[in-house]
Subunit: 386 residues, 4 copies
């Protein structure tokens, strides 16, 4: 019989403890996954810091239900699975030993959003692994900072292509978030608006989310990619992954950055600007960097940090700007993301983005390291590391 | 020989004088139009009040070049025309005696915007009749508050359908501005986002711009239309033109209005919200009224009035909102607008929206009346009225 | 206890018999509907004539599994319902006595199409009431030519708005098929291609499907609508419902019809052409009627009638034509269709399209009448008519 | 003074003669280009063979006006230029010595298509260098099979990026034709239809047009690319440029090819199929290869070769296929095409696609060689080669 399962539990903001849970029974229609790696995401940092309100202003506004097991960027191996399970989104059969990634979000299937926009988890009752299931409730193991996860029949799994390492697959969720750029691409149908072939893309923030958008922009036909960040360490990695121009907030003024974008775009500004900074203050700078009738994608400001920025609605009108907010990602996007990550594995060595790898016992140190932008890119937890 | 031409000249904010100008020669490739009616628009009121900065934050930012002849919603009769003129956008032949409306905006034809998005006057050097040509320069008559207008070869004219009265045709420009809703309609291609058949449209502002959007929303397949305004007088007209629900800002709190929108939309909010209010303060209310993954069109905040509103970028992200700023209108939209205004003339009696008609001599009184929302809808100038 | 249920059974092409079936138990998660009206559709006529292959060239190609109870345009009253049922697509509660319409198509929910394009029944295992369920299998009552229908948990129902008569609601399915025009509308995002505000729409075929497209085209902002048919009787009804130009195939040559379309469109051809004729021979004429870079919607050629037409692929290329085939309809479209049918009930009196109403016993006579285009529009069966 | 200019003149189908023309004066607003290379295109071969009707079924149907100087895929050096010329589409200044490519099509600027869809040369009076200007009329030099070309003020030129060889730039026109794939990409906005990230693209024809589509599909995010051709020589080059699967018509039956496409796509068929074969007979095979609700782009059947194929309109309807015909290319696409060809020059060595290079004197031999698919890919003329 399996022994107890070890997990890192966030009992309240700022406090992570290692706890033991009973190894769970396979949920009906579900599975048990042995976690290989779990990435630390910006949302995890916000929660750790006590910025715990998500989806503010919507029907599904939630506050973190402590205690929780964090970790929603997960890759692992099927340990056990209900033979009747229909977990794999693309219909591939799953068996013990298969490597999978998961969509952390579960939806109700019945609300207006589930009925009308089913490919996106914009459900009125969205619940997410690593985020909004408390581990106080059985079967407890609802997050990746744990040796095993209990997968209910509401979860979508995706089989990892043969030969792909967990160090690459762990980026699948984050890479799928870049469907924002697919949207912008579609928007180009509109009279020259949106993301056209050969366009200039500006990305605010060179953390893992920004790097994913850099790679995706390339794959979708961007020409010039310009990136900003507070960390020269991260911008150097962005350069290595193909950014043409990088600007560090430590060395430049806002006016200089806006001017540099204009110099690279015939005076117009970026055709597409993507906010991957997670700070409200990035918004006014992005508005100034986007060209007239360009697209501004708001991707990083997912958590309410409690600060506002001043807006002239006039600017939106007079510049004909299109602003698209983007939370989550598409269910159907995981499969293509995995396939393309594999096809371009040599050109974009995702695994090199992992700068730090910690054991469960060091989860708190891992989160703190992930907040040190001057020396870390993606930090992952390996629940079986000694 | 023609006598001098009388025009109402705005010499500086708040001061209109009647001046005489020489009857001009027909510009090369152009025409002379005998003005029948010129509508007073929100922009005219802003300029009169001294809010004279337009397109702030873009390459074509301009400040009103006083003195000017205002008036850009114009209908008139061709008085003379260069036989070689190619003024009619849709290629219809024009001759003296023909009734026409005009696009007030002229463009350079060579800049990036003219090359890439040619159907919209988003030119880096946009110049507009009634707005940004000073009457200090010959041939002086660059606005509709004048008995005649000098039409250069850069202007696009549109022949008014046979049998359409000037009191209807004068709305062509304003009605074409509603291409914002066509855009929102197209956006519905995106996974249930945008303006679908049978959707609920909320319109902030029941002035002429709001009424145009009401009519256009109906023509494009809206079901419920909800409107807000500070003026019950205007909301009563909106009701007559088919608004299902109206809410007066004098009688309701912001919280009540947001709640009423939710009650009419299954708790979700409007699928499309259109800002036709012209006040920055409408923005936060509109953001709260739009449903998750809905579209918010910013149409009325065209002029920089110098005030900002606080924004949580988080709201845009977490609600997946799409915001589209819209200045101007499409060159190709005038023809269809005129045809459809004629087809639905009985259902939507545009001429009844004209509540006041003034002679040139009373231009200043006319502008002041147009600012009195409690008793006026569209105010027009008739330069030949005695 | 309920007595036996009477139904009209198509035992083989050309032969309808009245048979009795046991009143069924309520399926788990399902309901029993007392049929009020069932419309006869073009597909029913094809099946009756022995043209029984559908979806040829796709994974779901089927041949009619005789014996069947036909009837997929159904309206009725909930007789009984499983309290746990989640049948209403838009989440409205249902109880005995409620009037409902239904989507006749059931889908698997698991195949690639169900996962990627879930709003459309393009399933690899699509099965349809009135069409592809044999009544040889319990609970037998899978079609509207029956006093009652057994509704399984796979069916989507839609509550009919209060006050809407069954004679109107029976058109909901057919009206929803016009989402083809919504698609064409969205396509207008593409550089002037597609269905723009004020465009000319040509409809081949003035049967019920053609009339639905006429009404929908109007609701979405068409200007001129031009229709063709073999039956002057039907074209006269089209005129009454607002067609601007009608052309009878009995009185005109193909060359004349193409020329007339050109005369009405500045020599260009229709911006949108919709094939609602159901005959392959309509295709070359439609190709000649559509303007360069226009849209041609293929809606009526749903059943393989075994005949081909010659095609020059060159014409598609050189004219930049966009052709969109359309089977089925959207699940989310029923609700808006019903709401808009009610809103515009006075302008478009759908019930007047029902020219003939038959009792079950006269089902065969009804089908034959529905094939007589010279004197019938929509023919319906009323299973309770004496 | 410049000497006479040597050009290869097609006097009638099948007969090319070398003739001399006077060196022309610089046209007003125009330029003289010293031709470096001119590619031989499929259209040139059709014309040589006597298949001389283009745009059949449209207002601009034309028959080749012999004698002509062929050659519309041109790159050259500005020899002289009118200082007032505005020839460069993107507004870059041009001077003698600059390397440029050209859009061969000239348009009227006034017809409905020029007004409504201005970015595409879909003009009712399109006239093309190398194709529809007779060299019987001064200034004669309207094609690239000539030492110099006379460029009128109607032509759009594009400055070649610094450091790009003429052997690469000569592909700019052909590469821009792949905007078909950009269109298909935009179409993905439609409920899962169109060209999504990670999709499978099938290309019929591995000639230069097919190879351009292969490269562009990669740049826009295709996963698997499958190609067919009659020539194994060409398929081997396609493999080298990244095709995943190739199928030679000499070795496989149509049934086998369709089956192989299905095996690679989970049984569904290609998400996008592009016809670059130029033969009507490719159409039925492409229809069978495309998945339900997939996109079929007709690009190669530009010239009317006088043969038809049988079509079941039912197939279009029941499979929900979207077919898009595509002639020409976009004016705004040359600039991005050149930039991206340069960015990815190492990954896609365009110059290696040139298998044969001939002097003017051997123009007839060059055209014959270009028809030998078993041993040639792109054949170019070098008018200054000895």
């Amino acid at each position: 019989m399996k022994k107890d399962v070890k997990a890192a539990v966030l009992t309240r903001p700022g406090n992570i403890e290692i706890q033991s849970f009973p190894y769970p029974q396979v949920p009906k229609g579900g599975a048990i996954i042995r976690t290989e790696l779990s990435g630390i995401c910006g949302t995890d940092k916000h929660t750790f810091k006590g910025e715990i309100r998500q989806y503010v202003g919507t029907a599904q506004e939630i506050t973190t239900p402590f205690p929780i097991i964090q970790g929603h960027e997960n890759v692992g191996i099927i340990e056990e699975i209900d033979p009747a399970a229909k977990l794999e989104f693309d219909g591939q059969p799953l068996k013990p030993g298969d490597r999978v990634v998961m969509c952390p979000d579960t939806t109700c299937g019945d609300c207006w959003f589930c009925k009308h926009i089913p490919d996106y988890p914009w459900c009125n009752d969205i619940r997410s692994y690593g985020n909004s299931f408390s581990c106080a409730n059985a079967p407890h193991l609802f997050g990746g900072f744990s040796q095993y996860m209990a997968i209910t029949d509401k979860v979508k799994l995706y089989k990892v292509p043969d030969g792909m390492k967990p160090e690459v697959a762990v980026f699948a969720e984050l890479f799928d978030v870049t469907y924002t750029l697919d949207k912008a691409k579609e928007l180009y149908a509109f009279d020259g608006e949106g993301f056209a072939f050969g366009d200039t893309v500006v990305i605010q923030g060179a953390g893992p989310l920004g790097i994913m958008h850099l790679i995706k922009a390339r794959m979708l036909g961007a020409d010039k990619v310009i990136m900003t960040d507070t960390s020269q360490f991260r911008l150097d990695i962005a350069k290595k992954f193909g950014a043409d121009v990088t600007m560090c907030l430590a060395d430049t003024t806002q006016e200089e950055r806006i001017e540099i974008v204009r110099q690279h775009t015939g005076g117009r500004g970026g055709d597409v600007v993507v906010e991957c900074a997670g700070e409200p203050e990035a918004f006014p700078e992005g508005m100034a960097m986007v060209r007239k009738s360009g697209v501004y994608l708001i991707v990083g400001n997912f958590v309410d940090v409690g600060r506002t920025v001043p807006l002239h609605p006039h600017e939106i009108c007079a510049k004909n700007i299109r602003i698209m907010g983007m939370s989550n990602h598409s269910l159907s996007g995981y499969g293509p993301s995995l396939r393309m990550m594999q096809r371009y594995g040599e050109m974009y060595p995702f695994e090199e983005l992992i700068t730090h790898r910690y054991a469960l016992e060091n989860a708190q140190e891992a989160i703190l390291k992930s907040m040190d932008y001057s020396s870390s890119m993606k930090v992952v937890l390996d629940p079986w590391k000694k």
